[in-house]
Symmetry: C2
Subunit: 178 residues, 2 copies
């Protein structure tokens, strides 16, 4: 009957909650209730909250870069457009923050494995964007700066637009990037 794949559902529910209110916004009990099982059963799939949080960040990161594709693939301008669109779609269609943006804001209070996975996400982003900008002819240093600027603006634009409940603010903040 198309296996329920409980572990995946746990991650789906936890991710949605985390991208709404951060690491403290999801609990074993709430997740269990939404699936229709008991909280002890969630512990069967993810022994601790640390482990669940880490798995969350890793899956999010993997999916993100699968969607973006090879930084040496399509045209750089096209890749950058795709990058900006990835954030915009998450915000406008799903109404959700970037998981690692939320985690990043509270990183000093996160369990070490979750903090580590969050850092890994940003490191991958810097690397991916750095490659794309270098393909556009920028020197190493300039490419790295452009990458940092891009990530910062997009993460901040999500927060701003979300806080003000005005998706147009995202576009306004991002207009200079493309």
């Amino acid at each position: 009957m198309a296996k329920p794949d409980t572990a995946e559902r746990i991650l789906d529910i936890a991710e949605k909650a985390a991208r709404t209110g951060g690491y403290n916004a999801f609990s074993f009990r709430e997740i269990a209730a939404e699936i229709g099982i008991k909280s002890a059963s969630v512990h069967y799939h993810f022994p601790t909250k640390d482990a669940l949080g880490e798995a969350l960040a890793e899956r999010y990161s993997d999916n993100f870069f699968i969607a973006l594709g090879d930084p040496q693939g399509a045209e750089p301008a096209e890749l950058l457009k795709r990058y900006v669109a990835a954030y915009g779609t998450a915000l406008k269609q799903d109404g959700l923050m970037c998981l690692c943006g939320v985690f990043g804001a509270e990183i000093a209070d996160l369990p070490p494995p979750v903090a580590s996975a969050t850092r890994a996400f940003f490191a991958r982003n810097l690397e991916w964007l750095g490659q794309v900008y270098q393909r556009q002819g920028l020197q190493r240093d300039a490419a790295d700066r452009a990458a940092a600027h891009m990530i910062a603006t997009l993460e901040g634009a999500m927060i701003l637009a979300r806080a003000m409940e005005d998706a147009a603010l995202f576009d306004a903040a991002v207009a200079r990037l493309s």
Copy 2:
């Protein structure tokens, strides 16, 4: 004996914790313990956590704009430099996030009064920056976009630098702004 001003100390301690780990990072008990009183006494000064969170955001916002000064005052270029420096100083000297940046990231899970005070902070920022950019000759729309871009980049740069534990990333992300 220079009154201890307990209410102010409560706000100081709560602000530091909130700017580290968000709204759930401070509790009445922890604050009380740090001051050396009981948690019930903290409720005397701030009846509910909602009220404390709201006061936190309002005081933060007020102090922020007192430090920035009149947007019609100094030279626009000087005001923008000061604006960027305000974020950089908070990050590098205090090692803390922008309070409303953290609250903004988890805004959907905040009590309404706290969410409202957070929105007010961003609204004041948009207004302040919009005025400065218009003094630089930008049209209304362009000034508003530039304001959104500025706020987004700075908030995001703080998250990025903090997550990667690398203050240089803040400067890299922000280099294009000045």
